[in-house]
């Protein structure tokens, strides 16, 4: 269980002699991720949703508020304690090309988590990689390809596979299907649902598309300029939005066909 409690983050644009403007990226935001559920955080650009993802991954520390994992305060831990936490919470990024090192073959990319875990014997690596490729519906023959030789959907699956090899409890999905074509989106969303069911994973889903969020998430938090506008389970939110901003978002959605 990952708990973010009253998280505040302010970004300052520093001028050469101090001063400068500051933007509140997150204003006392609290979320809980766990229990095999999916929490959606939805907002437009500048809403602070990506900052929230980075804090959940502890890539950055909040200015105030606490991050707890399994009851332990990990807001400001570093070094080994931070690395221990990190392997339990893995990211999947929007830009599937940028998330994979272009100079490495798929096999090498998938070897990285096994190396970093350190608890899987070297002799098992090859089998683990074959297994995970099968699990994400990709041919093991792809292992010798480079990322640029794969389609966007295939690359996104490799990103997911890499995260899974860490055997995490939580996946932070930062706009995982926004860059994909519609037909590929469905494949990746189906895969993520199957994985959640089979492996008991919990998800933090960051996105801007309400219809995907409604389909994919259990609970939804609506963010606007760093402020929480709405929070409810997906059905309630869509049937009976509490906040004006949520209503604006719903009204702005393109027609459903």
């Amino acid at each position: 269980m990952l708990e973010l409690d009253a998280i505040t983050k302010v970004f300052r644009k520093r001028g050469p002699f101090g001063g400068g403007r500051s933007t509140v990226a997150l204003d006392r935001i609290s979320v809980r991720i766990g229990d095999g559920r999916t929490l959606g955080v939805i907002g437009e650009s500048g809403s602070g949703k990506s900052t929230l993802a980075r804090i959940a991954l502890r890539m950055i520390a909040p200015d105030s508020g606490t991050v707890r994992f399994g009851g332990r305060d990990i807001t400001r831990v570093s070094g080994k304690a931070l690395r221990d936490f990190r392997r339990k919470v893995q990211p999947v990024f929007q830009d599937s090309a940028g998330a994979l090192d272009p100079r490495m073959t798929i096999a090498r990319i998938l070897r990285e988590p096994l190396m970093l875990r350190g608890d899987v014997p070297r002799a098992e690596w090859s089998k683990r990689i074959t297994d995970i490729l099968t699990a994400i519906d990709l041919s093991p023959a792809l292992r010798d390809r480079y990322p640029r030789q794969l389609s966007g959907g295939q690359r996104q699956r490799i990103g997911i596979a890499r995260a899974l090899l860490m055997e995490p409890e939580i996946l932070i999905l930062d706009e995982p299907v926004s860059a994909l074509d519609v037909s590929v989106q469905a494949n990746v969303l189906n895969l993520l649902r199957d994985l959640q069911r089979d492996r008991g994973l919990s998800y933090l889903f960051i996105g801007h598309d309400l219809s995907i969020a409604e389909y994919f998430c259990d609970d939804i938090l609506v963010l606007h300029n760093g402020v929480q506008k709405d929070f409810a389970d997906a059905e309630t939110l869509f049937r009976d939005p509490k906040d004006d901003y949520t209503r604006t978002l719903l009204a702005a959605m393109p027609r459903q066909l």
């Binding site: 437009e44 650009s45 519906d137 990709l138 389609s151 966007g152 959907g153 295939q154 074509d181 519609v182 037909s183 590929v184 989106q185 469905a186 494949n187 969303l189 189906n190 649902r193 801007h208 598309d209 309400l210 219809s211 995907i212 409604e214 389909y215 994919f216 997906a234 059905e235 869509f238 604006t248 978002l249 009204a251 702005a252 959605m253 393109p254 027609r255 459903q256 066909l257």
Partner: protein
């Protein structure tokens, strides 16, 4: 009455890669057509081909007639008189569509004077102010002196719409005009396009990957895949007469009410040798 646009057997190739194959597409005046396809379908290439703005290494065959006459692609001077005056164009990424070292006013007046060579500087300036007002930019006179980086994406997109309208074109081609924008901005830009196209009664081609976006502003849909035109159908008949690929596009979208169900994928509708991506 002659048609507005008549594309006949249009093919485009970049070296060995075929971007478009044998496209036939005709538009009557006032037609509002959504051109839908996924990445690599050739939809943007089609838009640029009509304007004669494909890169020089593109090999282009076939013919495009505009208001009854073939478009003079090989004669760039003549095409210059078509672009902006008879066919307007809106580009997908407003942030990249403006030269960063020129003011918004410079951009608009240049577009204006390209469409109306006789217009003087002062007149162009007043006209620009009126245009910015039409696309709902506040304090247009001050705003003319601002640089693109001082505008938001939505504002820039509205300025680009204004610039595309200066020549009062008979056809407007918009290439993914809202893809780079937020949902709320997208809604307002689409609404504005819808009103403007309606009011001027011009032909409209909206290129998009999103059937929902197209449905906001068009009456007809043309679906493309792999450089080919799969089908063309009135929006109202889309569900009833959908080609299997179009069905796949519709069904694969996660929409309200599909909660908890498995999404259909393209493989559910079409044999696997039909498409490349698994």
């Amino acid at each position: 009455m002659t048609g507005l646009l008549d594309i006949r057997r249009l093919s485009v190739a970049f070296g060995p890669t075929r971007a478009l194959s044998d496209i036939d597409l005709a538009l009557e005046p006032g037609t509002r057509l959504g051109l839908v396809g996924e990445s690599g379908s050739g939809k943007s290439t089609l838009g640029l081909a009509v304007l004669g703005l494909l890169p020089p290494d593109a090999a282009c065959t076939g013919e495009v007639r505009f208001q009854g006459e073939p478009l003079p692609w090989s004669d760039d001077r003549a095409m210059t008189r078509v672009r902006g005056r008879r066919i307007g164009f809106i580009y997908q990424d407003p942030m990249a569509a403006f030269s960063p070292v020129h003011t918004i006013g410079t951009h608009i007046t240049r577009a204006l004077r390209a469409a109306h060579p006789g217009v003087g500087r002062r007149e162009a300036l007043d006209w620009s102010v009126a245009l910015l007002e039409e696309v709902e930019i506040n304090k247009p006179r001050e705003r003319l002196d601002h640089y693109p980086n001082e505008y938001s994406g939505g504002m820039l997109q509205r300025v680009m719409i204004a610039a595309a309208l200066v020549g009062d074109p008979d056809l407007l081609i918009a290439d993914e005009p809202t893809t780079a924008l937020d949902v709320t901005t997208q809604a307002s830009v689409l609404g504005m396009l819808d009103r403007i196209v309606e009011a001027r009664g011009m032909g409209f081609i909206l290129i998009s990957h999103d059937l929902g976006v197209v449905a906001e502003a068009c009456r007809e849909v043309a679906v493309m895949y792999g450089g080919k035109l799969i089908q063309r159908v009135a929006l109202a008949d889309l569900k009833a007469e959908a080609h299997p690929y179009t069905r796949a596009l519709l069904e694969a979208r996660p929409t309200f009410g599909k909660r908890g169900q498995r999404l259909s994928t393209i493989a559910d509708f079409l044999p696997s040798d039909w498409f490349d991506d698994a």
